[in-house]
Subunit: 284 residues, 4 copies
């Protein structure tokens, strides 16, 4: 008996139903590189009011096929795969979210010694009847912040700390890209797609640079003595309130036509308190 396909008499649509906290391997594209990682997936569809339930196992079947294909996840693949998932679930609306750690190889500022720095990334794709498919890229970037007030009032030193810059950016679809089949349910997008000024698709590396370039100093996994001197003095010369940091990131996002809506949050793990200072700018 296919209990899930029975009629439901409560007349209540469910916006999102599916699976979450599913861990599965994933290959992501970071710049030119393909990197293996492990993602935590959240997958859901909208369920019409008259339908009793969805078929949960199909989400995992879809995910296993994606993972087995070895296909790297980028914005284009995500749009295609969302259409496949909705088709498999016989659904008109739905959402994919994958959260994972990734790495960028960085060179220390003076010695040039190289090491990996870890970041937290996420891909989110959502299809809604009224607004078509939107794709979001999210990254959490660890940086250093140094307090301008502490520097100004003190005879020497200034308190500083690790901060997290979290950027969630909507990626605008490149114009003239018509290879893609229309999504199931046919919902035509009603939002204007701005012209994209660059042939290069926006990715994690660009968002990471926006955050690192805005901080008192970026950070590294491996530093030698001259590097440590450099980063200490660089941060002291470049103090930033949490408000400065969030605004400087927002200015950079505003200047990039490939980005639609966004949300930036900066959190300073204050070294003179046991709590955080934070600031958020959101463009809707």
């Amino acid at each position: 008996p296919d209990t899930q396909s029975e009629r439901d008499e409560r007349h209540l649509a469910i916006q999102r139903v599916g699976v979450k906290e599913v861990r599965y391997p994933l290959t992501v594209r970071i710049g030119e590189q393909l990197s293996p990682t492990v993602a935590s997936w959240s997958l859901d569809v909208a369920l019409p009011a008259e339908q009793k339930g969805t078929h949960m196992s199909r989400f995992v079947a879809w995910l296993d096929a994606l993972s087995a294909s070895g296909k790297p996840l980028d914005a284009t693949a995500l749009r295609d795969e969302l259409a496949v998932m909705l088709d498999k679930l016989h659904a008109v609306e739905g959402r994919i979210e994958a959260r994972f750690p990734f790495f960028i190889r960085k060179h220390a500022p003076v010695s040039g010694v190289s090491s990996l720095l870890d970041y937290q990334g996420a891909w989110i794709a959502e299809h809604r009847a009224g607004s078509g498919t939107t794709v979001w890229c999210e990254v959490v970037v660890p940086v250093k912040s140094l307090c301008p007030c502490s520097k100004e009032i003190s005879d020497y030193g200034a308190h500083n700390q690790r901060s997290h810059v979290t950027i969630r950016a909507e990626l605008m679809e490149p114009p003239g890209d018509r290879r893609r089949p229309p999504p199931p349910g046919g919902g035509e997008s009603t939002r204007e797609r701005p012209v994209v000024d660059s042939a290069v698709e926006l990715g994690f590396e660009a968002l990471v640079r926006f955050a690192e370039a805005s901080a008192s100093s970026e950070i590294w996994g491996l530093l030698k003595r001259p590097d440590e001197k450099w980063i200490t003095e660089r941060a002291y010369e470049n103090p930033k309130f949490v408000e400065d940091l969030v605004r400087d990131v927002a200015l950079r996002l505003n200047a990039d036509a490939r980005i639609g809506r966004y949300r930036v949050e900066v959190e300073n793990f204050e070294s003179i308190h046991n709590h955080s200072a934070f600031a958020v700018i959101e463009r809707e």
Copy 2:
């Protein structure tokens, strides 16, 4: 030098700036009872484009005064205190969020033996220029869910598991309540306030009941043997998909005129998988 009060030339307003992960003691009202607990606070204000920074220490000063007063937090107190906080920060818009564990004394269904069950609660109050002050009450309720499909297809038994029902409900302001001073900045609410059908303010206990009454079975901290038999059979007689559970909670919320917008999420920590099934209904 009051660096934070200088003019900022980036022309970017900040929607939210403040402190988070601040732990402070709190007294909450659960039914007729006042209960001490420990909350994690997130406090922020909006910062106009021309202003360089906010005064972070004033949030903690406000919080310390609130905590020292011993005043229990309920919807009315929260509205009043938000006005005080905004005034102290010279801000027009802002937000208070407090998250904390709380307890309800429950009696086992057969033996009647009593014990405390722990829930996660939150109070959220937000004041925006366009929409006035809104107050939200959130609760995470642990319950038991038993799978209808597993029951139907199996000769005996049915898989079941712990589930979390998370309800976030906007509390409608009682009509005719004019004791409260208008909020700073004078933003008049443009949303309709529906008539409230009850003199009793909606609180955590009501939301907990909505969740527990909708589950395959509610749960307890302390059960004797006859109670364990009762809960086992009760869940078996009362199977629910995650879709059923979220709809049954939504029906109860729809029937209560004291509730405005809401969001219900049910998460089943599946006992046949290593991931969760979940469903969300949101009323905007």
Copy 3:
């Protein structure tokens, strides 16, 4: 049928069986003050090889009685209560662990303005046949550390960050304290109890002071501008490697005869890396 009391034929004793992640209210004694808080409890007993199971509900019944009594938890109460719990479970060996946040009211170093700082505390009591009852007090203290190397090599500034000092200390039983009944099972302690040099029982406040006095600077919840100057300069004048900090705390613990075995760990949430530096000294 009392399945749990049946004989087990696998001939395997279980060192610890019980409940964990039980949240229940608790009153703790901090200095002269009684403070309400919420604890996460782990409670277990040893199960002999021939016994099939323990009675889990008795742990919660014991906990509910303790909580309802309102009796504050200190080392003496913990010893007494462990005996009660073992008696209730018909067990010879067992363990109580309660983890909870607590607060100390602190005054800022220049302005004197007061606020609460939150710490993580734990009480652990264990009774083993060979070694009698031991009681441990644990505290996690947030402090500030400033890097000596960064200060020395840089023309200005020095990187600094939040650190956690975690101290777990065995409390020596005061000599001549014979009011307490012998534990069930009669296991006489074989460990020497050193003479205690002070009439005052060691508590959380003393451990917190050991950590704060050893750091580059202690921290506060609420600071005014002159306080921020003070803490900035104080840390700069008082640089400490993670190795220095852990040794300075250990020196203080070594000097206190009320402490038996201990473990100190310091973790620096490095502000120039995305990882921590840490160091551990343990006295067995």
Copy 4:
């Protein structure tokens, strides 16, 4: 100035000093397969009393070299790499710990449909002067447990839930393996190495099987309807208390001569309570 190499006058040795929460990519060997994953590393050495500090950056340099080599981590590689790390740090004692998710492809019991299940694994290697090098393998295995008491007292149904079986096992070194160079500092092991009865090195898959075979039922990522019937009935026919589960795993560990010391913990996320039941057996 090499501040870290100065003499320290506090006369306190530090048992462990190093870095933790370092995230770096890793390849692990699961059965015949090499799998990429992301690990959280904790690396430390012992610091003699007269030495002021260690050189933290050398841990990351060692880790980067290991990661760049692409060499898969298994027990043999871990022993070799620990010697390399100690050499690089000029240390006599030290420890490596890497924690990571890994996957095993499993086939559903009736339909045979395949999917990945995620587990949490860890490799730990430690070298101490008195006891030589020990290597530990740890795994957290999610399974299903069904309560025997609930089944026996109820007219129908039985409560069941997800459980975690955590096994930490010391791997005995194969006899006659003399290819490996003696560790730096020359500490000759004083512990007896039992004869190993198998040419196959113990790995994650064997530990996972010990846990899954002991549960009421193992679990899968993807199940079709006949599989769900199978797992429901299998668990009902095979009820286990937390005490049964921990003992049945211990019996299997006792029967394998490749395992030295071990610790097994089972945690049931009870579906009739909001807390866990747990049990621990440890062989020292």
